[in-house]
């Protein structure tokens, strides 16, 4: 029976003395997290720089969302594994087995699990803009780094962050904006072969994309996803069980995950993105190389996300994405099928189900159920996912059995 083999151990710990009436100095949840991590790592004799995974709860206080990437940024960690648990009193047990399983799988090597339960400081006065005003995924709660150092300058939401990635990318590698627009146009060809896509029946050209209103230089309106309603679900089961089911089994043969920051200002790089290490691990685990896959389903909240993901996933070299796009047809009928359902740019972005749409499309193609846009070769797929602003990224290699 599959299971843990004892290949992972607990190497050290720290425990604060319980107090009915707290006598210490109140600190923010992020500060408590860094204190606990430093003390536990010292107890284990492991350098903080060795940490590449974390398990946390929802208790940091300053950030209601994106807690793992906020902790990673705060502690200066580049992580290959992150988990936020929501299991109440079972959370700490859950953290330990997840950490052990992840380590045995080779996802990571040093995981810090922590839970903070000490008082945080009270605001010195009522906040001008209260913590309930969230500015999208940006946290404006007191003590949040974004509230203090980013939101006051208007650096909030997603558009300006991705735009600053694009600005830096083109400054380093060249200003071919038509290739960025071609990603949108090629994906729209696939959307026009997908009756479920929001843009079904609405082809666009490169010129159409570049003529759409500028939102945040250099990104135009048609390079940005359209929010919509929707939903999706996947069933994952054992290969033995799947062999008796009606559809072709789609095995998860490789995965990777990497996160480094919440706000791009503090990212280690704006041109080497976290999907790179995630993809490298996924391909190595699967024993294949990027050139082996029959299709790629790349998370595409913006055109620049696709460009960076093509390069960092290894389909072309760094800085070669624009030339790659110019010389390949990315539509379902082309020589490099990419986002064969139209991507979110063509299909729409129904919240979190937008990211699931890439996985669903890969499964649909591998199983031969993609209708008019069915690929002739459909055995091996690469899928990427992106959260935040290139903050947390993950990769899958899927193989039909």
């Amino acid at each position: 029976m599959p299971g843990l083999r004892g290949g992972a151990v607990i190497a050290g710990f720290v425990e604060r003395t319980p107090e009915r009436h707290f006598t210490g100095t109140p600190r923010f949840g992020l500060e408590q997290w860094s204190d606990l991590a430093a003390d536990a790592l010292a107890d284990a004799g492991i350098a903080p720089q060795e940490v590449d995974g974390l398990c946390c709860g929802g208790d940091t206080g300053e950030s209601p969302m994106f807690i793992p990437s906020t902790i990673a940024e705060y502690c200066g960690w580049s992580l290959n594994f992150a988990e936020r648990l929501d299991l109440g009193g079972a959370s700490s047990v859950g953290m330990v087995w997840r950490a052990a399983a992840a380590i045995e799988l080779g996802a990571c090597e040093v995981v810090v699990c922590a839970a903070t339960q000490q008082p945080r400081p009270s605001p010195p006065r009522p906040l001008a803009v209260g913590p309930r005003v969230t500015f999208g995924a940006s946290s404006n709660a007191w003590g949040s780094p974004q509230a203090e150092f980013d939101i006051p300058y208007g650096n909030l939401g997603q558009n300006c962050g991705y735009a600053m990635y694009a600005q830096r990318y083109h400054d380093e590698f060249g200003w071919d904006q038509r290739s960025r627009a071609k990603i949108v146009a090629d994906q729209r060809v696939s959307a026009c072969a997908n009756p479920d896509a929001v843009w079904f029946g609405h082809p666009v050209t490169v010129d159409d994309v570049l003529a759409s209103p500028m939102i945040a230089d250099p990104l135009h309106m048609l390079e940005i996803v359209m929010p919509c309603s929707g939903g999706a679900a996947l069933v994952v089961t054992s290969a033995e069980r799947a062999a008796r089911l009606p559809h072709r089994p789609v095995a998860v043969v490789g995965f990777g995950e990497h996160l480094t920051h919440k706000t791009p200002t503090y990212a280690p790089s704006l041109t080497q993105t976290p999907v790179g290490p995630a993809a490298h691990r996924a391909f190595a685990m699967a024993g294949v190389v990027p050139g082996d896959v029959d299709m790629v389903e790349l998370y595409d909240c913006y055109s620049i996300t696709v460009m960076l993901s093509l390069e960092d996933s290894g389909f072309c070299g760094k800085g070669e994405g624009m030339e790659f796009v110019r010389h390949h047809d990315l539509s379902y009928r082309g020589d490099f099928p990419c986002n064969t359902h139209g991507g979110q740019l063509g299909f729409g972005q129904p919240g979190l189900a937008g990211g699931m749409s890439h996985v669903v499309e890969a499964v649909r193609q591998v199983q031969g159920r993609a209708g008019d846009r069915q690929l002739a070769r459909h055995d091996l797929a690469y899928v990427s996912g992106t959260g935040g602003i290139m903050s947390e990224q993950a990769a899958l290699v899927l193989r039909g059995l």
Binding site: D150, P152, N159, Q167
Partner: protein, 148 residues
Amino acid sequence: MSGGRPPGYPQRDDPVAAKPLPVPTPTSQPYWDGLARHELCLQHCDACDAWVYYPRHRCPACLSDRLSWNTVDAAGTVYTFTVARRPTAPPFADEVPQIIAVVALGVGAHVTTTLVDVAPEDVRIGMPVTGVFDAQGDGVTLLRFRPA
């Protein structure tokens, strides 16, 4: 706009200009105190020699808590930027087109800011810039940048 301030700065008499301003924490207070004196104060790690921004309780390079405050030159270069043609949130409507930027300070730290006293079409990555200490309400001073 009828604010009477140069483009790029908040137009204070605009009714929508209720800006989300920073509220200093015990950890960051020296940084904001420095800006109010027109000084840029950053933390330096005495354990590993790293410069730390934004202010933290521990060093993000080594997790040491041996951090000391130092005044550095409020100057650097534009690392990246965008021009928000639509406000990123309603409170910033009066600053559109707003030049949101990341500036690389001389000590290497990257900071979020807005660029002022420059037209959007004249901004270039790598452009040398110098700090502008822009006093807001509530005694908070923001650090903007203009071409050096």
